[in-house]
Symmetry: C2
């Protein structure tokens, strides 16, 4: 018997591995099982080898996992896996397909509610921590303008889009805030900015031998949604340089709100929240892991259904008691 | 009849005036009454004149004020006023005497609980927004070090301490982060810093004619708790210069946590939250006003007793529905 929160990990890519690391940093948690479709379990040489199971067997763990952290991708994995897991387990995920959040929320809410489980959804850093600050800032200072800048950092979605172009062997895309405009906003301005004025896109691409370099460049810079609306720079590099200089998955960004209170023109008020992340996946995993604690506590209090970061009192994220929080951190 | 949240303001100094302004920015609220001990109500020439009442009559407003925002000072007013108001009204305050928070919380919790009211305590920016981020940061990244820097800005408590010295006519104190050390931390370092290494104190003092300048300087720089542990610079200036250049009550600060996830030494993660406030009192008032909305909603849900920023789901701060928040800001 244990008093620790028993965590399951569904999906064993970078995010799942990040959760595995995060659990070790939290003394009140333990890793119970990892579920994967990808690994040949018999060939695995891994310290947690005996905790890795086929995803098809997850249902057998219903009674010994308190919280399942969903680490699949938002585009292909979570829309199906999410509700399935939510029907069996309390779950936490970092679903990040912004446009589809209401649909995902509804599907998760139904699956969780029908089965008396709790599902914390969209609890990474954006959506997640950035969303918290967008709501906090707007609620406190209605008269003002909010901005979200991402990067400098690696966008997985845009890197994937590059890799799907025929002739592209390896590719990575860095999202970079337009420094001049970010600087103006950091000084308190409230300009209206187009998509192009907020971020630019730097692509580093390794192509197959004899591939059509100019054709690939054109495919990239004209790609709708991903690149066409941005100043996009395409750099063709060797595979050697790619491996050497482009393997870090760093990211970050800033939420800023500039506004004013009252009528005195010098009463400008500026609020900002920033992340500077050496490892995007490990950080996202750490946020999910903290929300796993919150999910565990909400379940103990009898809650069920889907919950967002807007629904969850912050005290549930911490391993400290409310008394300790009030003494030490309030 | 109105559907708006009916707000009372208890205490009509800078903070109370800030709340009066903030209510105008929030379409779902209206100002019902202001309570003051200080004003000669018959001599008042003020647009809200007919809404200002003697604090002794507050009890007559029990049924027509939804939330009373307490705008008295933390050292002298709130310890007595807080529980008294909490026995009659739902309240919100920004009590900020950090060392005494547990006692204040307990007194407010008892008064509110005994009378079926809700009392949101310590809900300004520090304690308040900074506390939220300290808990969020530590919960997400247990392996790391947190820092709180205040300023550059005016400390009311330290300015008051200066003004109590015999021979001092006017005085203001600016709290200033030690730029070199803040810079190191912004770059990701985790040094251990003494009190002196974090902040310095700049005092601007107008003295009475013939007052003992060097004696006053010595009284300031040796004053325990307030100045003795800091590099303190005392500037004696004319009253004219004081009025011209030292009337802005700006403030701000930063909560930073630097840490790492996992074992890769390059996986540094840095989180920060910053405020840059043209008017400290108007901003604090805006935070209290947003928490007044939260108090109103919590009361409607049947809650009572004292609540901190750690207890309150962020959705209750916003005038938007959860659906709107999920669509627009998640």
């Amino acid at each position: 018997m244990t008093d620790k929160i028993r965590i399951g990990i569904a999906g064993y890519g970078n995010l799942g591995k990040g959760v595995e690391i995060a659990i070790q940093e939290n003394a009140d948690m333990e890793l119970t099982a990892i579920f994967s479709k990808r690994y040949d379990l018999t060939k695995l040489n891994h310290p947690c080898k005996d905790k890795i199971f086929d995803a098809a067997d997850a249902h057998k763990f219903k009674d010994i996992i308190d919280i399942m952290i969903l680490c699949g991708g938002s585009s292909k994995d979570l829309p199906g896996q999410g509700p399935l897991y939510a029907s069996m387990f309390n779950t936490v995920d970092g679903y990040d397909n912004h446009g589809n959040i209401p649909n995902y929320y509804n599907a998760m809410n139904k699956a969780a509610t029908d089965n008396g489980n709790i599902s914390v959804v969209c609890a990474g850093w954006d959506p997640g921590l950035f969303s918290i600050n967008r709501v906090l800032f707007e609620s406190i200072m209605p008269q003002g303008k909010s901005y979200t800048f991402w990067g400098p950092g690696v966008s997985q979605g845009h890197s994937d889009a590059l890799r799907k172009i025929p002739g592209v062997k390896k590719a990575i895309q860095y999202t970079i805030p337009v420094e001049d405009n970010l600087g103006k906003i950091k000084k308190g301005g409230t300009p209206v900015l187009s998509i192009r004025e907020k971020h630019k896109r730097e692509c580093y691409v390794v192509i197959e031998e004899h591939a059509d370099k100019e054709g690939i460049r054109k495919s990239i810079i004209t790609m709708p949604n991903y690149f066409a609306d941005y100043d996009t720079n395409v750099n063709f590099i060797s595979e050697e340089e790619f491996v050497k200089n482009h393997s870090k998955m760093f990211h970050g960004g800033t939420v800023i709100r500039n506004g004013k209170t009252g009528t005195d023109p010098s009463n400008d008020q500026a609020l900002s929240f920033s992340l500077n992340l050496g490892s995007n996946s490990e950080f996202t995993a750490s946020v999910l892991t903290a929300y796993a604690r919150a999910a565990y506590r909400l379940k103990k209090k009898g809650c069920s259904g889907a919950k967002t970061v807007f629904d969850i009192p912050l005290k549930y994220l911490s391993n400290k008691t409310l008394d300790e929080l009030c003494k030490e951190l309030l």
